[in-house]
């Protein structure tokens, strides 16, 4: 328990240090662009692929469970929209990102620790925490755009699976995705996406930055980082949902 509290304290001190003594803007600018490329643009492929098929699966499963003829077929679209916007895009994709981007962050920073590159930065007088983690945080401010694309592709996947699978007509689907639309749900989804983005940037960085040992420990740190990022995302998801939707 004491160890856990110590780690939490260390994590928040690291966050404070991220904003201390910033790196020169001319250097930081290129670091941010590189991180956007690696973490955001580089993740688009897997996010698009998963979102599209998840949307399709949600539509098919909803359709197969609609056995009562009194329930309109447009409910397939409604269910797809709600599932994708409220949970699948923000939370499910964030868990995927914890595996994809989170492991990359932990292993790259961890390798820098093992090969004394972080020591080299610190000896030179560079604020290593700011140099390494701040660009990742800035890159993840663009994470809601990834999720917006994920939402769009998820619904598109649902439409294609529903219409071309013969479960629902295109007109009914379009009616369904507009039924009882509550704009606040989109705000809620983007708010939690932003929070998840910050967690995705900082928790894996923490595990990489403070790791000890050699190559084997880099692998272990990546696994631990994925587990903790997922646990924190799921917990924070519950808290935000409780606060904003209940």
């Amino acid at each position: 328990m004491i160890k856990a509290l110590n780690q939490i304290g260390k994590y928040f001190l690291m966050i404070k240090e991220v904003f201390n003594k910033p790196t020169k803007w001319s250097v930081m600018k290129s670091l941010i662009l590189k991180e956007i490329d690696d973490l955001i643009i580089g993740s688009m492929g897997i996010v698009a692929f998963i979102s599209f098929f998840i949307g399709g699966v949600v539509a098919i499963q909803t359709a197969l469970n609609l056995t009562n003829p009194l329930i309109p077929k447009s409910l397939i679209a409604f269910a797809t929209r709600q599932s994708v916007i409220l949970e699948f895009a923000p939370t499910f994709i964030s868990i995927i990102m914890a595996g994809r981007a989170g492991s990359y962050i932990t292993s790259s920073i961890g390798t820098m620790r093992v090969t004394e590159q972080i020591d080299a930065l610190e000896v030179m007088g560079v604020n290593a925490v700011n140099y390494l983690i701040f660009p990742k945080i800035v890159a993840f401010t663009l994470y809601p755009f990834v999720i917006a694309i994920s939402m769009f592709l998820g619904i598109m996947g649902g439409w294609l699976a529903g219409v071309y699978g013969g479960f629902v007509g295109s007109d009914q689907f379009l009616v369904g995705i507009q039924t009882d639309f509550i704009p606040f749900h989109v705000f809620y989804a983007f708010l939690k996406t932003f929070v998840f983005g910050m967690l995705l940037a900082t928790i894996p960085s923490f595990h990489g930055f403070y790791m000890k040992g050699g190559a084997l420990e880099v692998g272990k740190a990546s696994t631990t980082s994925f587990v903790w990022t997922s646990v924190v995302i799921i917990t924070v998801n519950y808290i935000i949902t409780q606060l904003l939707l209940s």
Binding site: K21, T23, T115, E116, Q117, D119, A120, V123, M124
Partner: protein
């Protein structure tokens, strides 16, 4: 000049440095030597500010490190060049970007100026036509040269090297040693090298500090080290089987007794 007074450092119950005092002079290659576990690396890391000493003080040309503010410490660190044991080159950057890094971070130099300075130091360390290669594409000796180039590119006042010859063949080791000594004299910097390589000790050891079990056992020059009869030094300098006869004649000691002594220490 770097002055160390009575520094002590413990990790838990283990006291690693036990009241070490010495001076590292400007324009000279100062060596910290000793067996593995003698406290060399901890001493170097303490000098670099990576470890904080429990007691004692370290002064860089009159500036006592522990009395500096956080910003002053960071500013002092920009005057330090460091060559790490494993070179510690940034593997996401090519040679040119690695060497240019301190200039981009701490100076207002612009593109052309940076490139010219980088080429100048790369030429100084005899490394040409490698600007666009990545660290994993060059040999260990070349990586050491890049690390030296990066350490001196911003004209440091202090140069620290941790085992600069580690993993290099004897010929390349000699070249690296010569390079470090030439740079030290040319740029008039205070160089501190952590090593247990006897070739380095004899070749460039203008000031040698010998550590044993966290205590400064002996200090002197590379000429004096060959004349001393200090038992620990003789055992260290002539530890190779090649020097068995020399060791025995200097210590007048039975070899079996020495081996038993070493075994007891290892246990």
């Amino acid at each position: 000049m770097i002055e160390i007074k009575d520094i002590e450092k413990s990790f838990g119950d283990t006291k690693v440095l036990k009241g070490i005092s010495t001076t590292f002079e400007t324009g000279k290659t100062n060596l910290i030597i000793g067996r593995s576990g003698s406290g060399k690396t901890v001493m170097l890391k303490t000098l670099l500010g990576i470890h904080t000493p429990d007691t004692g003080s370290i002064s860089f040309d009159g500036r006592i490190y522990s009395e500096l503010t956080r910003d002053e410490k960071r500013s002092l660190r920009t005057e330090i060049g460091m060559v790490f044991q494993g070179s510690a080159l940034f593997d996401s950057m090519n040679v040119e970007d690695n060497v240019a890094f301190p200039l981009k971070m701490f100076t207002n130099k612009r593109g052309r100026e940076i490139k010219d300075r980088v080429n100048e130091v790369l030429e100084r360390v005899n490394l040409v036509d490698a600007n666009y290669k990545f660290p994993n594409e060059i040999s260990g000796g070349m990586q050491k040269r890049v690390a030296i180039a990066r350490a001196i590119v911003n004209n440091p006042k202090y140069l620290f090297c941790d085992e600069p010859n580690s993993g290099l063949d004897p010929e390349t080791s000699i070249l690296i040693d010569e390079l470090i000594q030439e740079i030290t004299r040319e740029y008039d910097i205070t160089t501190v090298i952590n090593t247990h390589d006897m070739n380095s000790v004899l070749q460039i050891g203008e000031k040698i500090v010998f550590l044993k079990n966290g205590i400064k056992e002996w200090e002197g020059t590379n000429e004096q080290i060959l004349e001393t009869r200090n038992k620990s030094i003789v055992e260290f300098v002539y530890s190779s089987e090649l020097f068995k006869k020399v060791r025995e004649s200097l210590l007048g000691e039975d070899e079996e007794e020495r081996k038993q002594d070493l075994n007891i220490k290892d246990e």
